[in-house]
Amino acid sequence: MHPLLTRNRFGPYLLAWIPLAGILVILTASGGGRSWLESCIIVIPLCAVYAFVCLSAWYTAKSAPLKPETALRLVLGHFLAAAIVSFLWVGLASVMTFLLARTPAFPELNQRFAPLIGPFFGAGFLIYLLAVALHYVILSLEASREAQARVMETSILAREAELKALKAQVNPHFLFNSLNSISALTSVEPARAREMCILLSEFLRMTLGLGEKNAIPLSEELALIDRFLAIEKVRFGARLRVEERIQEESKSLLVPPLVLQPLVENAVVHGIANLPEGGAIRLTSQTQDGWLTLTVENTFDPEATSTRRKGMGLTNVRQRLEGCYATGATVRVNTQADRFCVELSLPAETGASRK
């Protein structure tokens, strides 16, 4: 759709033509024995036609976006277009004056108009180029508005994902199962029951505190995961095995809060919980060339059919990373036989580099 052919833009566009038409009328009437009436009769229809002709510059501008590499070709192209359009326009003017000359009211108007053909061609040429420039301005305005809308949309999505992540954090089933473990432990091993209460409170307190932060050191995220896994270990016993290979230097790097925890929870709920003999969860962190790579790997039952909630945590993490780093972060999922692995790559940021 042409941007000027809208209800509130077309009026101002036509108004802008009034001074142009005025100048052309004055040009025509000054000297050469042409009356004001004759000037108006020639110029006004010509301008009306040209106002529409100039709108066509939109299509050429749109199909040839401004780029430094093609600047010369663009300029030549638009100059050629301007020359052709202006030539046709002057041709129209000549035909008009020729026809008017045959009426008794405007004797020999075509001969009196002839000296103006050159100036009119020049004017038409310039006006067309002006129209091209105007359309480029409109194009770039629209592009920037679109970009703005996109930025807005991404940040809204990121915010939503964040909220969802926080809400999903304290999974009620996780709580009920943990409470059940505690209630079982109270009679047999009161000390472990108390220990578990403390783990659970620490986990909850940490989760709640993360809501206001945009980024936390990886060490904090890992501390949260340690609590989570310690609680799940009480439930699953020997079925849950954990291996951690955390690079020491990576611990101070900043990551969005709760970026790993949902993945670890998935590994427990969709991986270990479906295996009668249990399995292992492997956590690694690695920095290389300014990138932080985090992986969460777990064994799972390839034949398990339970798909409920599957991917929710993963989708969530993906959306949040998009929101935090635009395209500067990747999430790779790799399934091999009975191993499921999620790998996150984020720009390695320290507190100092972020500010």
């Binding site: 009920f176 079982a184 047999v188 439930r235 919980a273 479906n274 009668p276």
Partner: protein, 253 residues
Amino acid sequence: MSAAQKKIGALIVDDEDLARHVVCELLSSHPEIEILAECANGFEAVKAFAEQKPDLIFLDVQMPKLTGFDVLELIGEDVSVIFTTAYDQYAMRAFEVHAVDYLLKPIGKERFEEALARAKRRLGEKMPPAQKLAESARPPQQFLERIVVKDGTRVTLIPIGKLDYAEAQDDYVALASQGKKHLKQQTIASLEACLDPNCFVRVHRSYIVNLERVVRIEPYGKDSRLAILADGARLPVSRAGYARLQSLLNERK
């Protein structure tokens, strides 16, 4: 209680040690109940059930491979079941399979006693046949993802994509999968109702076939045909079955 009165045999099924422990402890004040076995998964439960014939089962719902509902479908005889779970979304299904009660974890003593009392009242009552239970346990508008089959105390899971065809044999269906046949006590009509009609076709009074396994259809006598499967099996196709097959293939185009 008279000495002659038989003890109530109970089975505790849960994949978490601590969860089983809670039930044991709650039962410790009930000498009339004897814990026959504790099972850490569905397979153990099916085996223990066949060997010990308990009167009462405490059954967790969420367990690896075989869920509590699968276990019930496999054993479903005259037994009282009390489900134990942290998830309340299974409550409706639990009562549809005539569970005695449904206990939410963490389990409180009072609520537990209530369930136990109810179980004792129901002990003498007959349960509906296993197949009925399994059918009503399946959520509506949802097709089977796998079939559980029991051969003695051995349990086999057949993912639905690996089922080649099913053949009716009296009160049983023979399920052909990966070159083996598994017998299951079920009518072919009720099996058909649980299968996705876009993948499985009743080609004959006695046969349901997995559409993906059909290589070609050959004419065979007057009015009837043979379906040749990828593994070479030949199944009779009735006239009505052929019509169903054709309409399904036309829909897919």
